[in-house]
């Protein structure tokens, strides 16, 4: 379970998080929505320990993330996947090498087994045809799918998705949404999803929370949120959104 309690974070002169409290039970996809700059991506970075809160608690499975040693943090991160907004692929590695990177670094797998696993996740994200290509020569959508494959290759317990459909066309977006839901249903992966997309939120999410001024302004199940009269829920999940 992922839990944040009363997290405050200031970056430069801006107060990004101001009393952020959040609870993501295991096996669930929690969608975080909110205006740009409201602290959605910063929340994800706290969960994976890239950022430390100025105040408050960030826990994964009861373990306090900000006070973890480097070794403990690395152990935790091996159980997590993270999809960055732009895929964040290493430019000089091929798509297959990018996807296989966490396995090559940590899993003592024979090369054939490693290659099989990489091919398996590349097929999952429909990118097996581009395995030998390099990031500068593929589209933004392909980069994102490769990033997703890399996040899933280690069979993580948690995946943090930062704008999983940013820059994708509706067809590929739909495929990604299906995939995120499938990852939760078939593999039991817990997801924390940051998105602006109504389709993504309603298709992939079990619960939706909307941030405003550094904290959750409203939270509920997908049905509750879609029916809500709260102005933020209307703005992000109303018929005209997305």
């Amino acid at each position: 379970m992922i839990e944040l309690h009363d997290v405050h974070k200031r970056l430069g002169t801006r107060q990004i998080l101001a009393g952020m409290t959040l609870r993501v039970p295991k096996g669930m996809n929690f969608v975080l929505m909110g205006p740009s700059g409201s602290g959605k991506s910063v929340t994800l970075k706290h969960v994976i320990g890239i950022l430390k809160p100025d105040q408050g608690s960030v826990q994964v499975d009861g373990q306090e993330v900000p006070t973890m040693s480097r070794t403990q943090l690395m152990t935790l991160r091996k159980r997590m996947g993270y999809l960055f907004q732009n895929g964040a692929l290493i430019n000089w590695l091929s798509v297959a090498d990018n996807v296989g990177l966490p396995l090559r670094e940590h899993a003592r797998l024979p090369k054939s087994e490693l290659d099989d696993r990489v091919q398996q996740v590349l097929r999952l994200v429909k990118l097996d045809h581009a395995a030998a290509q390099f990031p500068p020569s593929i589209s933004g959508g392909m980069k994102l799918r490769a990033g997703l494959a890399r996040a899933l290759v280690t069979n993580p317990e948690y995946v943090l998705y930062d704008e999983p459909n940013a820059g994708l066309d509706p067809i590929i977006s739909h495929q990604i949404h299906e995939l995120i839901a499938q990852v939760r249903d078939d593999l039991g992966v817990t997801g924390l999803i940051v998105t602006h997309s109504r389709a993504c939120a309603t298709h992939c999410g079990d619960r939706i929370g909307i941030l405003e001024e550094g904290r959750l302004a409203i939270e509920g199940t997908v049905d509750e949120m879609v029916r809500s009269d709260h102005p933020l829920a209307r703005a992000f999940l109303g018929g005209g959104s997305d």
Binding site: K45, I48, I50, M74, T75, R77, K78, M80, Y82, F84, Q85, N86, A88, L89, I90, N91, L101, P102, E105, H106, G147, R150
Partner: protein, 265 residues
Amino acid sequence: MNPLAMLGRFATTRADSAGFVCDLLLRTALYLPRLRRRFRFLLDTAFNAGVRSLPVTMVVAAFAGAILAMQTGIELRRFGDTAVLGTITALSMCREMGPFITGVILAATVGSSIAAELGTMQVSDEIAALEVMSVDPVDYLVLPRVVALAIMCPLLTVLSDLIGIYGGSVIAEHNLGVSPTLYWISAREALTSSGMLLPKEVYVGLLKAFVFGIAIATVSCAAGLRASGGALGVGLAVQTAVRNSVILIIVLGFIVTWFFYFLGG
């Protein structure tokens, strides 16, 4: 703004940067046993460093040797002692000029490229991606670059020394009337006259180059890893890397010389 506060902030920033570089170097050293896993990257970086800086090194070293011979030769001619021109050029190139020239060229070509590469990775979340995969960027990115430059800088320095001495010989023959045979005998004697295989000057010069290689790579990696704020941040990282590398080359060069010729006797 209060000048004391400004001074305090300046000192804190500089101390923070210096601390980051020292920490990076220490962590890189701790990862040395894992170097075998990074052998491919190490070879790539070493090859790139060599290829990228070789032509410039050759040109600059040749002219530096020529200038050295010219300036020294003018004075020696006044005393009628141009016979030692080969000795002076060879020892000066090996002791100081070779490592210095190579270091500065590596800082400008390879150091800037390292800072730009890592800086771009930092601002596009690639470094963060490595961290969330539990891959330490120090192990994956910094270690091969530091080791590659620690190897390549002395190798390029040897080449730089030889080309510089040759550049000096051209000036000695054509402008100062020193016969090539005399120049080369004098240079060879200077480089073989000690009881050791090579004189102290050569070893000190190579040690300097080794230290410069480590310093350039570490400082450049540190600048790249601390980049922030998009393209502007990458540009600043490159600027910082080259500026700090050149300052360190001069300071460390002084310290090594002082240690071996004044402290150690």
